[in-house]
């Protein structure tokens, strides 16, 4: 068990826990960014450098920023409106926590009962830009095209959905 993994896992867990429990949504998003950096660290611990940095680029650089923008554009200007009331023990919350705890118990049980495995190679196989690029252009070219279409459609769709309609603009 490496120290690096422990540190990054702790960051990931701490950040995401904070992200899901802080009452101020901005704090939530910032902690989420931290937690996702931790997850990227876990990727690095697994030897997937490219994915790790992509993770930071996409989540910290884009998704977190996007979420803050969405927050600002909804009710971000009223700080008091942002803060959620304390109601940790309402019925729906408790049932939600129970569900999540149940899911964790079975998943954790499943993970724990998996037979301990060591990697087949001591050194992680290179997953740098070149290897990923080659794989993308050969074996996975069709998924790549599909993802391209998906991203284009999502881009256009997001713009169309978010555009105010004619009467709202006037």
């Amino acid at each position: 068990m490496s120290l690096f993994f422990l540190i990054t896992a702790a960051i990931a867990i701490g950040g995401t826990l904070a992200a899901m429990t802080r009452r101020n949504p901005i704090h939530c998003i910032l902690s989420l960014a931290l937690g996702l950096v931790g997850v990227a660290g876990v990727y690095l611990a697994l030897g997937a450098q490219f994915v790790g940095f992509t993770q930071i680029l996409v989540y910290v650089g884009a998704v977190a920023i996007l979420a803050t923008f969405a927050l600002m554009m909804t009710q971000g200007h009223i700080v008091s409106a942002l803060i959620e009331p304390r109601r940790a023990f309402s019925r729906s919350s408790v049932s939600g926590f129970v569900t999540a705890a149940g899911v964790f118990s079975v998943l954790g049980w499943a993970a724990q009962s998996y037979r301990p495995l060591t990697p087949s190679t001591q050194q992680a196989p290179a997953a740098g830009a070149k290897e990923v690029g080659v794989a993308l252009m050969h074996t996975y070219v069709l998924p790549l095209e599909v993802i391209g279409v998906l991203l284009t459609a999502a881009l256009i769709g997001a713009v169309v959905i978010a555009l105010p309609s004619e009467e709202e603009r006037s």
């Binding site: 490219f50 940095f53 910290v60 650089g61 923008f69 070149k130």
Partner: protein
């Protein structure tokens, strides 16, 4: 001493020192020995740059610039530093204290971390990552979050406006920045910055194999530098700071040393992107002519860095600030298509047989779209001397 020994003096010194360290502590010691020089040199460069910038801007405006503290005013940064250290640290009453405190630290931290992958000289890089370039951009994108944190936590209209402007601008210009760098990745076939620098260290007769000397490399360099200017919020893209309308943007509510940290972060970011531009396009630490290779590599790196910093200062002294819609329009309607064209051009260069024809064709592929785009950009705009009814 031979030129090679001089070139590798820091590397050999480090190895020598490492010999005295017990094996268990070696990783830590190695990290410290690599990191500390960077932590010293670049803030020092920041200090020098501030005074150089002020003097340069002064000369551009036919002034003298700072000349009182120390010889020729070169101790001005020391005076500034003492001033900002001793100033009162004001935090707005309603501010989000924790985030307000963390924002400048995150900014400086992110700006420092990127130096880990920059090759400052031959064999002189802290961490030779496989995906170094990606690392650079990934960590660079954290700056946006820091800026947002600063603006939002201050609970001030101006700082929030400034932060939103800054974030929108940085996100918009990040795309051309990355796309301008993509051409180099295509040519070098690697994301590792030392490898990219190594690729460019050869010579044909006396001329170096720098990417900036190819059509796509030149265009990529110019596009990269424009995006880098916008990315580091420098004039003429310094709207987030717009003194005239939102006073100082996202760091309006900061004072004292935190304010100085913002400046430090901004300048470190500028050095880092300049260093990246040098590594990607200007051959990194390699000498400009084959007969100058005896000069140590790190000197070349810093010489190029100073030239680029001078260019930044020059640009800042020349151009007025853009308007927000012009800024965004420029990013999406000009920079993005041009970088895409440039990517196509680099691909063309790769697949065409080398020769004069290739150069001409690739140059044309860049110049013609540029002419078309610039014509579209200027369409409907009457460029003439403005007359004022009341002001004169």
């Amino acid at each position: 001493m031979t030129p090679v020994a001089v070139d590798q003096i820091f590397v050999t010194t480090k190895h020598l020192l490492m010999g005295y360290v017990p094996a268990f502590w070696q990783p830590l010691a190695s990290a410290i020995l690599s990191v500390v020089p960077v932590l010293v040199v670049f803030p020092a460069l920041f200090a020098v740059t501030t005074v150089l910038e002020r003097k340069g801007l002064g000369r551009i405006q036919n002034r003298l610039g700072p000349n009182r503290v120390g010889p020729f005013g070169f101790l001005q940064p020391a005076a500034d530093g003492i001033k900002s250290l001793t100033k009162e640290d004001v935090v707005p009453r309603d501010a989000d204290k924790v985030v307000h405190f963390l924002a400048p630290i995150l900014l400086v931290l992110a700006s420092f971390i990127v130096y880990a992958v920059l090759p400052i000289g031959r064999n002189m890089v802290i961490a030779d990552l496989n995906s170094g370039l990606l690392f650079f951009f990934a960590v660079g994108s954290m700056v946006e979050l820091a800026v947002f944190m600063a603006g939002w936590s201050s609970r001030s209209k101006y700082s929030l406006l400034g932060a939103m402007r800054a974030v929108a601008q940085m996100i918009s210009y990040e795309i051309p920045l990355v796309l301008a760098a993509v051409v180099v990745i295509m040519a070098a076939g690697s994301l590792s910055l030392p490898a990219i620098a190594e690729m460019q260290s050869g010579y044909t007769w006396i001329w170096p194999h720098w990417y900036v000397l190819t059509p796509w490399g030149f265009a990529g360099f110019v596009l990269f530098m424009i995006s880098a200017t916008a990315e580091s919020n420098r004039s003429p893209f310094d709207l987030p700071e717009g003194e005239s309308e939102i006073i100082a943007g996202y760091y309006i509510e900061y004072s004292g040393f935190k304010f100085a940290l913002f400046f430090l972060g901004e300048y470190l970011g500028m050095f880092a992107t300049s260093g990246l531009a040098i590594t990607l396009f200007l051959g990194g630490w390699s000498a400009p002519f084959s007969f100058l290779t005896w000069v140590p590599s790190y000197l070349w790196f810093f010489a190029k860095l100073l030239v680029l910093i001078a260019a930044f200062i020059w640009v800042r002294g020349t151009f007025p600030r853009l308007r927000m819609d012009q800024l965004m329009g420029f990013a999406w309607k000009f920079m993005l298509p041009m970088t895409l064209v440039n990517v196509v051009d680099a691909g063309l260069w790769h697949f065409m047989p080398s020769g004069v024809v290739r150069g001409v064709v690739c140059a044309a592929v860049i110049v013609i779209p540029f002419a078309l785009f610039s014509r579209r950009a200027q369409e409907g705009k009457k460029l003439q001397i403005r007359t004022y009814r009341y002001a004169e």
